[in-house]
């Protein structure tokens, strides 16, 4: 039995190639995509707003926590600042403050898609390192 286990392990090591691409950026996008799915699955507009608002707040808190740990590089700090600013803009628009018109109830599903797509093409997420992104996800998902 040991022989077989050893052999299978050897075989797996031989054929497996480490997937580099499955980094934290994808996970961050999946996180926002899951939020959008929850919004779309909910009928009630007030609940949709709550889901979106909570996700922005939780993510912002996770980013603050990460920045306060001092574990991340100066470049990541800049990237995280950019991400926080984008989240703040989304939050303001959802609530209709700081010069924004409030997102109408009928457009909340589209708005959740916009948040995902904006995040997917955002410069800030492109410049945040994979390690920092993984930490963000861990904090956002585990702490809140």
């Amino acid at each position: 039995m040991k022989q077989i286990i050893a052999f299978v392990s050897f075989l797996l090591m031989f054929v497996l190639v480490t997937p580099v691409n499955a980094g934290g950026k994808g996970e961050l996008q999946k996180h926002f995509n899951n939020v959008a799915n929850k919004v779309k699955a909910t009928e009630n507009a007030t609940e949709k707003r709550e889901i979106l608002n909570d996700s922005f707040q939780d993510m912002s808190k996770a980013l603050d926590k990460l920045q306060s740990t001092g574990m991340i590089s100066a470049e990541d700090q800049v990237g995280i600042d950019g991400l926080k600013a984008a989240l703040k803009e989304n939050q303001d628009e959802l609530a209709g403050i700081n010069g924004y018109e409030r997102v109408p109830d009928s457009q909340l599903n589209s708005f959740s898609n916009y948040v995902v797509q904006n995040m997917e093409q955002a410069d800030s997420t492109v410049t945040i390192s994979v390690v920092a992104l993984v930490l963000i996800i861990l904090l956002a998902v585990l702490l809140f």
Partner: protein, 380 residues
């Protein structure tokens, strides 16, 4: 006792036999895996013999297309139905469809992939090349991308190795898919090679290798974010007659390649500018129906945009020089904007030679912006 002895001997013989069978099995599997390993590291995956490249075909080759698809970065996106896509894989799939559905074309596809390792230690080739002619895949090779400065060395060499030499003038189309190609610097463009730089100068230096001194690409399609800046278009314009690019954000590699699938039907009488407008319109329609973010697709007629470019390139280059000296932290706070929002660029020639297909983002600060000049600048 004899019985017991015989049974014991029988048992040990059976175990011995079983061991031999297992050992042979392991050896065979080991050989198989070794062969697979060696073939995965082999230089060429040659599909057809060289002589077949030059064999006569019933189809006349009229078009030459070069796709460079950058896949060494974060290219994940979702559609509104929650389907997940890797943008470079989608671009590759569509490029192959284009190649197979154009019997009058030769198509070079270069897929630049992330660095991967076999058994954690042995680096694997980080590029894959496909060569199609008359709708047939003739060559498929794994290759090493440039290890330091990226000047498309392998890509240019492969192009000259396989391209069809013909007395007829081919319609040459170059397509690049990837993230925004930086106007300066460019370290970290490849996610898995943080020290390697790639910027618009590197891209244009590489492109020079594909064309002879007197010729230009008939059409260049830059499927990236922020491609329509005066510097990028000026650089690419020195090598191309018509350019299609997105001045603002472009949702990951989302240009619609369907118009390229039947070039014989869509390019009428060699009219590239009409085809470019048709291509841009199709891409704009697809993007507008699929994304909530800003959509901008612009066709640049390189000859007609020269007066505007000559008027602004001094100012624009000065801006780039200032930006180059900035720290990363400051640079990250400077945004792009429509050049028409900056007084220096508000010239009567700004609209010459550009066909702009624009729709603002459905949400955000600029959702009420109605028009775009087709030129993107730095808000500095």
């Amino acid at each position: 006792m004899n019985k017991q002895l015989n049974f014991g001997m029988l048992k040990s013989c059976a175990k011995f036999g079983k061991d031999i069978i297992f050992t042979r099995f392991y050896i065979r599997v080991f050989y198989l895996v070794t062969i697979l390993f060696l073939s995965s590291c082999s230089h060429d995956i040659v599909l057809q013999h060289e002589s077949q490249h030059n064999s006569g075909s019933v189809f006349e080759t009229k078009y030459s297309m070069i796709f460079v698809i950058h896949g060494d970065g974060d290219y994940l996106y979702h559609d509104t139905s929650d389907n997940e896509y890797i943008a470079d894989e989608e671009a590759l799939l569509n490029a192959k469809k284009v190649a197979m559905q154009n019997p009058n074309a030769e198509v070079f596809i270069f897929h630049q992939k992330p660095r991967n390792h076999f058994l954690f230690f042995f680096p694997l080739r980080d590029g894959e090349f496909y060569y199609y002619r008359n709708g047939q895949l003739l060559e498929n090779e794994l290759y090493w991308r440039d290890q330091e400065k990226s000047n498309l060395d392998f890509e240019v060499a492969a192009y000259h190795r396989f391209r069809k030499v013909t007395p007829n003038k081919l319609i040459n189309i170059f397509l690049y898919f990837g993230h925004e190609v930086p106007e300066f610097g460019g370290a970290g463009y490849d996610e898995s090679y943080s020290d390697r730089t790639f910027n618009i100068d590197d891209l244009t230096n590489g492109l020079k290798g594909f064309i002879s001194d007197s010729s230009k690409f008939d059409l260049t399609i830059l499927s990236t974010c922020f491609g329509g800046t005066p510097y990028t278009i000026r650089k690419l314009g020195s090598l191309s007659r018509i350019i299609i690019a997105s001045p603002a954000n472009l949702h990951l590699s989302y240009f619609d390649l369907k118009p390229l699938q039947q070039l014989d039907l869509n390019i009428k009488d060699g009219d590239i500018i009409s085809f470019a407008k048709y291509f841009a319109q199709q891409s704009f329609n697809k993007l507008s129906s699929n994304v909530q973010t800003e959509v901008s697709v612009v066709v640049y007629d390189v000859e007609k945009i020269q007066p505007f470019l000559k008027s602004v390139y001094g100012d624009y280059d000065s801006t780039l020089i200032s930006l180059k000296d900035m720290t990363y932290a400051i640079l990250a706070t400077i945004e792009h904007c429509d050049c028409a929002d900056i007084p220096t660029y508000q010239l009567s020639t700004i609209n010459n030679g550009v066909d702009v297909f624009y729709r603002p983002a459905r949400f955000g600060r600029s959702k009420n912006k109605l028009n775009h000049s087709g030129w993107e600048c730095w808000k500095y």
